[in-house]
């Protein structure tokens, strides 16, 4: 084998296989964990020898060696049983991790249960998991349904029937109230705020001219009156919607026997997984995915959807691409087509290549210091001085984040474009010059079209790099919760490049490591990761598809 050079085949092939195994393993883990997060798992009820009852979804099973103190708390018969099967060493026993929810009621989301303590295991038909608007999940059994404080039903099947009937209407009222609050009241507030800033501006500027100030005060008072006139009926409407909703409540018995009354208003989704058929489970699964993709986050990002983060990621990446590609291509054109080749151009090339190796956080610091605090502050001074000291552009925002990432990915585009330009045969340039074309005509009509696929490759690499970048974004505009999207078709001027935004990468970091209960958020981390990978892959696929189309144009017959 050595004589035939086989060992190198094994070494090289082995390295490739190892790399592939790691990549496939990573993707497999993310797909499996991320894909099953929303599947409705059955709810198990475990009765323990200690007299407790635990109620929840099994998320993990393993074995451990309990300490003497742990075992001391167990009933005598369990200890005796263990002692008869083992010597004096701590014996390895099984345990299960149950997601029990009810964080607000019990102070914990998860519970480890020792298998030896379980005396009875069942899957109660009417066990329900409730996803709540304001807080975490609740696991319980419905015990009553009340309207205006009067118990109408106390039998689970009937309660469920009633609940299913009113739930959609209640939620519709809830959403109406929300949207009035957000859109209409928001608009009124903005109007009033802008009038206030106008007044402050005039007061600050024309203090010498009392007539103008008086007029401005009058205008402001008028706007405030108008705003109030508009505000009051809307507020009354919201109160009315909330009052109607507050009539409906539903009571649940928790695993510790206590009963909790939930306003139906607060219930986003209630599922009784132990009774669902496969098709119904699929329905729940799809509805949870659609909520995840298209709704806003709830409960400090650990529940609900990621729509703002999804939107922010895509918009930020697209703006970055629009900025970096023309800029990088122009720079590469100068470097390759116009500049006289020599030590200086080599130096520039080395510098550009090194720029690609600079840690991304450095770009973040630069973006914050330059774009936000210098350029942004300058823009504020020029155009938004009315609202100072409140910064408009002089803080992190989606435009500055895109610019920072454009800077970060610029070397990738320049290097790829230069390579593509070198690959254009010189005979084509000469042919064009011989026809009497100018340098720019040659570049525009011959060189650039021919280099397009290579430029697209650079674009793909830039997108792949930019879409997954998180560290610099934390400094220049990505936030935990952004109240408004950077594009709002309902409010003039529709696009707000100054707004801070949410980003999937940052969202993963925030949910996974900054939330109060990271264990409960873990499934969301996997799912969000899956989504981020999906987005990067789709953006890449889009660019690859465009490149393939371009290549087809230049394919020769032979």
């Amino acid at each position: 084998m050595v004589a035939q050079g086989e060992p190198m085949v094994w070494l090289t092939g082995g390295s490739l296989v190892l790399g592939l195994v790691m990549i496939v393993g990573l993707l497999g883990l993310i797909f499996w964990q991320g894909g099953r997060t929303f599947w409705p798992k059955p709810i198990t009820q475990l009765e323990l020898a200690t007299g407790d009852t635990v109620f929840g979804q099994v998320t993990q099973t393993d074995t451990y060696r309990p300490s003497a103190e742990t075992m001391a708390a167990w009933p005598q018969d369990v200890r005796d049983r263990l002692a008869s099967t083992a010597d004096d060493r701590p014996v390895e026993i099984g345990r299960r991790l149950l997601r029990t929810g009810n964080f607000e009621e019990s102070g914990t989301n998860f519970d480890w249960v020792d298998t030896t303590l379980v005396t009875n295991e069942s899957q109660p038909a009417w066990a329900v998991v409730v996803e709540r608007q304001s807080t975490g999940r609740l696991y319980g059994v419905p015990v009553h349904y009340t309207v205006d404080g009067v118990v109408l039903e106390s039998e689970p099947a009937r309660i469920w029937e009633r609940f299913s009937k009113v739930h959609a209407d209640v939620r519709a009222r809830f959403h109406t109230a929300r949207s009035i609050e957000k859109e209409d009241l928001g608009r009124i507030n903005r109007m009033q705020e802008s009038a206030r800033l106008d007044l402050r501006w005039i007061e600050g500027r024309d203090s010498a001219d009392p007539a103008a100030v008086a007029k401005a005060r009058e205008d402001y008072a008028r706007v405030v009156a108008e705003a109030k006139a508009e505000y009051d009926p809307l507020a009354a409407r919201i109160d009315e919607l909330r009052r109607v909703n507050s009539r409906y409540t539903m009571g649940f018995r928790l695993s510790d026997g206590s009963v909790v009354d939930l306003p139906i208003d607060d219930i986003v989704r209630a599922v009784q997984p132990n009774q669902l058929s496969f098709g119904e489970k699929l329905g729940v699964y799809a509805s949870r995915w659609s909520e995840f993709l298209f709704d806003e986050p709830r409960k400090a990002n650990s529940q609900g959807g990621v729509w703002p983060a999804l939107f922010g990621t895509v918009v930020m990446t697209l703006i970055m691409t629009l900025l970096v590609v023309p800029f990088g291509v122009l720079a590469a054109l100068y470097l390759h087509e116009y500049a006289k080749q020599g030590p200086l151009t080599s130096l520039v090339r080395i510098a550009v290549n090194n720029l690609a190796g600079v840690p991304s956080i450095v770009f973040g610091v630069f973006g914050l210091g330059f774009f936000c605090y210098i350029v942004g502050a300058g823009v504020d001074d020029l155009l938004f001085s009315k609202s100072l000291p409140q910064p408009t552009y002089g803080k992190g925002g989606i435009l500055w984040a895109s610019l920072t990432l454009a800077l970060l990915t610029l070397p990738v585009v320049i290097v790829a474009t230069e390579e593509a330009l070198s690959a254009v045969p010189n005979s084509m340039r000469e042919g064009s010059y011989a026809c009497g074309a100018t340098k720019w005509q040659t570049i525009w009509r011959i060189v650039l079209p021919r280099a397009q696929p290579g430029i697209m490759t650079g674009t793909i690499l830039a997108i792949a790099r930019g879409a997954g970048e998180v560290a610099p974004l934390m400094l220049v505009g990505a936030v935990k919760v952004a109240p408004d999207l950077p594009v709002d078709l309902g409010t003039f001027p529709y696009v707000f490049p100054d707004r801070s935004f949410m980003h999937l990468g940052f969202h993963i970091y925030d949910v996974g490591f900054q939330s109060q209960d990271s264990e409960a958020a873990k499934p969301m981390v996997y799912t969000t990761t899956l989504l981020l990978i999906g987005i990067v892959v789709s953006l890449n696929l889009m660019a690859i598809w465009i490149r393939a189309r371009l290549r087809r144009r230049f394919r020769a017959a032979h």
Partner: protein, 314 residues
């Protein structure tokens, strides 16, 4: 115009005559082993030593009306001189062939005509060239306008990555011609002129890169004649083609004779004898002998020319 009758009659020339004692041996490509001539003919030897010598120009070729005049043209790539005092007149409406061994400066001379050598930073020139009386080199010359008056076809077919139609009308496009009827007319006329019309008329929108090598080269000729050039430069147009495609190009050159003034560089002596009216032999950057093709091949004045065209040298 520019009949150089003053030089007539050219005296019979021998190697011994060219060795002037005052000639500086350090000038030119002396001592370059690659191009050192074999011991046949003392003239080639003396040229390889860098000694100056006057071109033998037959009187017949200077009687025609000239389209291109080259006078005492010198060219350097950095420090090495590639053309030495080349003087040549290209007659209107005829085919003039440049022959000579590799590295003799044929292509360099050709590329000097439409100033393609400008693209190389290290090139320096001295001397004069005129296209129909207008200077080609000079501070006031607009290179772009000049190149529009000259068509060029390269060694390797170089169609642009666009449709056949767009390739042919490229020079009109860059001039900003937008009239569709005019473009279509020019396209058809040029493709007919290049003998390609019947083969591609149904697929003008197809990519030019899908054509075969010979078709691509004829397309390049169509592109070159679309702008009605005053002179057409062909730089070894058949060297990348198979014999059949070569035959078609040669037939085409024959058809273009009379309509266009053609200057063709070729390695292939048979091709030169078949297609050209006049032939110029170059050696190591110098024009050795220039006359009608018939004379150069049948009755050259220099023994060295005879050696070269009969294949005993080069």
């Amino acid at each position: 115009m520019n009949l150089q009758d003053t030089q007539e009659p050219t005296p019979p020339f021998s190697a011994a005559d060219s060795q002037e004692p005052g000639a500086s041996p350090s000038r030119g490509v002396t001592g370059d082993d690659r191009y050192s001539a074999p011991k046949i003919g003392g003239l080639f030897e003396s040229i390889s030593r860098g000694e100056p010598f006057p071109t033998v120009t037959h009187s017949e070729v200077e009687r025609d009306l000239s389209v291109l005049d080259v006078k005492k043209f010198n060219l350097w790539y950095g420090d090495s001189q590639a053309l030495h005092d080349v003087s040549l007149t290209v007659p209107r409406g005829k085919v003039t062939a440049l022959i000579g061994p590799s590295g003799c400066g044929k292509s360099t001379l050709l590329r000097s005509v439409n100033r393609m050598n400008d693209l190389i930073d290290s090139v320096r020139i001295q001397g004069e060239m005129q296209l129909n009386g207008d200077p080609i080199y000079g501070p006031t010359v607009d290179v772009i306008e000049l190149r529009k008056r000259i068509g060029m076809v390269f060694q390797k077919p170089n169609p642009f990555p666009m449709s056949i139609f767009e390739n042919v009308i490229y020079s009109l496009r860059i001039d900003g011609v937008r009239d569709k009827h005019e473009l279509a007319a020019v396209c058809e006329k040029s493709l007919r002129g290049a003998g390609l019309w019947d083969e591609v008329k149904d697929r003008l929108k197809d990519s030019a890169l899908r054509l075969s090598g010979g078709q691509q080269q004829r397309l390049c000729i169509a592109r070159a004649i679309a702008a009605e050039p005053e002179v057409l430069l062909l730089d070894e147009p058949c060297s990348a083609l198979d014999p059949i495609a070569t035959g078609k190009i040669e037939d085409l050159i024959d058809e273009l004779r009379g309509h266009y003034s053609i200057l063709i560089v070729t390695h292939n002596m048979q091709q030169a004898s078949r297609v050209s009216d006049n032939t110029a032999l170059m050696y190591l950057g110098r024009l050795v002998e220039y006359g009608t093709t018939q004379k150069i091949f049948m009755a050259p004045r220099l023994k060295e020319t005879e050696d070269y065209v009969t294949g005993r040298f080069g």
